[in-house]
Amino acid sequence: MRPSDRSYLDSHEWAQLDGDVVTVGITDFAIEQLGELVYLDLPSTGTAVSRGNSFGEVESVKAVSDVNSPVDGEIVEVNEALPDSLDSLQNDPFAGGWLIKVKVSGAAALDGLKDAAAYEDIVASES
């Protein structure tokens, strides 16, 4: 079971709300599917993002995957150190491996995302 203190997008990103800022990352399942990560491309602060649309890319040796935003808003912080320390994304995707923080309009920003239990079903169907 993945952490229940946050919401999930079908394409394997998580979103955790704190005030009007949502922290975004990708799940351990996505990372397991990719294999050993070799590259991460993140946007810069100030970029507008929208739900379901790509804001970055993560690569293993033989696969590349878009990273989609679970929420609409503007990026206020980027995990700048992460592309150079992919180990923390590989091994700690739900904490130290966070990708971006997005300023959203309110708690409703997470409406329509899946909770941990519903996300578990998606993982099961793709395994």
Binding site: V38, Y39, E59, V61
Partner: protein
């Protein structure tokens, strides 16, 4: 295999060693009148090697390769067939190799005759009357054909048709070529039978459709049985149909794409027509199109005139996609191949390729999962069984174990629609005995996989290097010696 490490040229370089030498060079005399800002101080730091050391260096490197001349090489969709020696002997002749591309037509009538006849023979093979030999490779042929499609749509006053449908089993080059030609890609589903899903196709046709790209036989090794209906539907919707001819060797002399409604296709001369793959090229990717599209073909075409053969630019040509007239020396080998085989021999190619593939499929289907287990064309897709996966065995392990057993592995992890795919294409130039030894090896590996034999994870152990850390190559890139 030569297991001894070969130092890099740069590591074996010794000051003052020479191979090639020319008399009469004088740097001071050569520099007269040249702007000093463009002159260099010291010559480029190329390695300094003696001739016999170079011979040994490259000969030893060659001994670290698997090749068709040394191993069975059933790389699916790549058509690793025998490359006839006589074609190489012909290509070495100065009458071909020493032609300059800008010589007048009158001085190159033999070359133009070869190209003209090859255009005609490829038209006959495909049932598509207009042929260009210009593109350098299959991928460039695709791109060229898509540009022809753009030009045709513009002339039909339909420039807004910008969507090309591509089955999800297609090779990645198809969508990549679409992007370069300014099209958008919409993916078509593969049905449970391994063929294009007709309902999905019908639901996606409409006034925005420029065309469809289809590989036939498809990458699963199956003939698209509804191909005539597919073409009819796309035409009815106002689009054109492009066929990726990567697998044409399976149907050559048996069915002509022009007869079942294809408008454009490319041929890989390095696959179907036996020219050597050379470690990854050069290829040649002629395209064949319907007569109404001839005027858009890239420059130049070879035409026959009263006083001989000549090069001509079609009236509405899309332009050129490379220098000069095409990969002539590859075209020459393909011409010699067709001449040697003739109509009957070309059909025998398809028959024997299909027989060999089905032989492997049937002999292996009791041991491996064959997801689409009907009659295949020139190749078929297998995958590990659930029981093998439960032992932690992946397709990568199978491939590496095959290397250890002295076979080049099939294409693996492609097509993407079959997870853990193992796509084998034996070609017509392999004997029953070779196929039998491969079957034995695959059965042995299946047994090893079922018992989770450690050998599978350690393989290969008898090669110059074992499994390579590919992540390290990206994270700590070393792409050339001098830059470190």
């Amino acid at each position: 295999m030569n297991l001894t490490p070969v130092p890099l040229l740069f590591e074996d370089s010794r000051p003052g060693r020479r191979c090639t030498q020319f008399a009469g060079a004088d740097r001071a005399a050569a520099s007269v009148g040249l702007p000093t800002s463009e002159l260099r101080d010291t010559p480029p730091a190329l390695p300094e090697m003696a001739e016999q050391d170079l011979l040994r260096h490259f000969t030893r490197l060659s001994q670290k390769n698997y090749a068709i001349s040394t191993q069975f090489y059933p790389l699916g969709s790549c058509t690793m067939k025998y490359n006839p020696q006589v074609n190489e002997a012909i290509a070495m002749q100065p009458g071909w190799a020493h032609l300059h591309p800008l010589q007048d037509a009158g001085e190159v009538q033999g070359a133009l005759k070869v190209m003209h006849q090859l255009q005609a023979d490829l038209a006959e093979c495909t049932g598509l009357s207009a042929v260009t030999l210009h593109p350098a490779a299959g991928a460039q042929g695709e791109l060229t054909a898509l540009m022809v499609l753009r030009a045709w749509l513009a002339d039909q006053d339909q420039p807004d048709r910008r969507t090309v449908l591509i089955p999800d089993s297609a090779h990645g080059t198809n969508p990549a070529s679409c992007t370069l030609a300014g099209f958008e890609v919409q993916s078509l589903k593969t049905g449970p039978d391994g063929l294009t899903d007709m309902e999905d196709l019908k639901s996606k046709l409409g006034p925005h459709i420029a065309g469809l790209m289809v590989t036939n036989p498809n990458t699963i090794g199956l003939f698209e049985e509804n191909i005539a209906e597919i073409c009819r539907l796309v035409h009815e919707a106002g689009g054109r149909v492009y066929m990726d001819g990567a697998n044409f060797n399976a149907i050559m002399g048996v069915a002509k794409p022009g007869d079942f409604g294809i408008d454009m296709m490319h041929l890989n001369l390095h696959k179907t027509f036996s020219t050597p793959h050379g470690g990854g090229g050069p290829g040649a990717g002629p395209i064949c199109v319907t007569e109404d599209l001839r005027k858009y073909l890239p420059a130049p075409q070879v035409v026959e005139q009263a006083d001989g053969y000549a090069l001509e630019v079609p009236s509405h040509s899309i332009g050129r996609v490379r220098g000069y007239h095409g990969n002539f020396m590859v075209l020459l080998r393909a011409y010699a191949y067709i001449k040697r085989l003739g109509a009957e021999g070309l059909r025998r190619v398809a028959e024997n390729a299909v027989l060999n593939a089905n032989y492997l499929r049937v002999k292996l289907r009791g041991h491996w999962r064959v997801p689409f287990d009907g009659i295949c064309m020139h190749e078929f897709v297998a995958r590990p069984t659930k029981e093998m996966k439960a032992q932690g065995v992946h397709t990568l392990d199978i491939a590496k174990r095959l290397i250890e057993l002295n076979f080049h592995p099939p294409t693996v992890y492609f097509p993407l629609v079959v997870s853990e795919a193992i796509m084998a294409e034996p070609t017509e130039t392999e004997s029953k005995e070779t196929l039998d030894t491969y079957v034995e090896a695959m059965i042995q590996i299946a047994e090893e996989a079922l018992r989770g034999d450690e050998a599978l994870h350690l393989a290969p152990r008898n090669t110059p290097v074992s499994r390579v850390d590919e992540a390290r190559a990206v994270k700590d890139p070393k792409l050339c010696f001098v830059c470190g």
